[in-house]
Symmetry: C2
Subunit: 224 residues, 2 copies
């Protein structure tokens, strides 16, 4: 939805970043696996009750030392955004697939990803709102990649067919820039490459953000 400006910068060595990715990213991966297995399991009530208790004990251990509130955003000294809590791309957010998005400075972003049972709406199909969730993120990154970062003003999605759960892809590109408005277009595709939704978004850079940029604030264009 939005590109925040001047987030705190963290000074980590490449080795520290790699270790963080392995250890904490690995934890998130295992949580994602547990989300799916706990949702679809049919093992008996006694075993489920026992596992539930173990999970609560683990949470208690993890909660002993936590970032208060929410993860927010930090920048590396190289200017990469660490949006680790982001619901679509966040390394540490288990709701996130997470999407790996590639960017083109011409103002284009794309991603190939797999949506499993956790993203279900109609039986066997991706939730229509999940299509919107994914597109909103990719649209915002296309605008930012093209040098026109902004906040989502309006997002219009036209669903042309249901999206089957499984491999999917999405793409977005800057259609045109009109003053402070960046108009982005894009679409969602299923495993067969068929377009399942077409969308248009208007991204707007608020006055306070334009002033911050004029004063030298850095807006991240790459998220991870």
């Amino acid at each position: 939805m939005a590109i925040p400006f001047d987030p705190p910068v963290v000074d980590l060595t490449p080795e520290e970043i790699a270790q963080e990715r392995e250890v904490y990213g690995g934890l998130t991966e295992s949580v994602r696996r547990l989300m799916d297995s706990s949702m679809r399991t049919t093992v008996g009530a006694d075993e489920v009750t026992e596992i539930t208790q173990v999970l609560d004990d683990l949470s208690e251990r993890l909660e002993k030392d936590m970032v208060p509130g929410h993860l927010g955003l930090t920048l590396t000294t190289e200017g990469h955004a660490r949006a680790h809590g982001n619901a679509v791309v966040g390394l540490r957010n288990p709701i996130a697939v997470p999407l790996q998005i590639t960017h083109d400075p011409a103002g284009r972003a794309r991603s190939e990803f797999h949506l499993n049972a956790l993203y279900e709406g109609p039986p066997g199909m991706v939730h229509g709102g999940v299509v919107a969730l994914v597109l909103d993120q990719i649209f915002g990154e296309a605008a930012a990649a093209g040098g026109s970062p902004g906040m989502t003003g309006t997002l219009t999605i036209r669903y042309t067919r249901p999206t089957r759960l499984g491999d999917c892809s999405a793409e977005a590109w800057i259609d045109r820039v009109e003053g402070q408005k960046t108009i982005v277009k894009g679409e969602m595709r299923d495993a067969e490459g068929r377009t399942t939704a077409e969308a248009e978004g208007i991204f707007i850079l608020p006055k306070w953000a334009r002033e911050a940029i004029d004063q030298g604030a850095r807006a991240p264009t790459r998220f991870e």
Copy 2:
């Protein structure tokens, strides 16, 4: 996004439904807690690595007996939809808040809910795509509650201000019905009751679904 027709009917006693809610719903609640604690934890790498291993062992136990693929939708003999895998309202989907939505047969649906750090986009704010995800579900339920179930044809969201993480509410109502199209309007509000997004959706009942209803198929109007 869509209202499926003629899903399988499961014959469960009220006691069995209550037990399922307690045991498997309880498991999902504990997974939701773990999602947040694992995302925000700052406990050391050794302990995280150990916990990660325990989680993988638990997944292995849960995976011994699973519903293949995805949960889909079943109906109770009373006609209540069991959309347990739904990404917004599903009892067993840990991505779901889950939203508790109340319905009005005049074609209105509303919900009050809490969005924690797992739903973050911009720092401290709800991801714009999560706003769309929540609204899509409530819009579809408003259309269904008013007797005009359909699939999302078009969804347009106008973001009027960022939505702070925390308590939120959303409401949707049928604005008008034009032939096979049901036009739904609604909005998202923050903890102070301020409107943060306004939306309009067009829901369409496909021909195959209209024919199924004519032939007596049941379309659920209540989800849980």
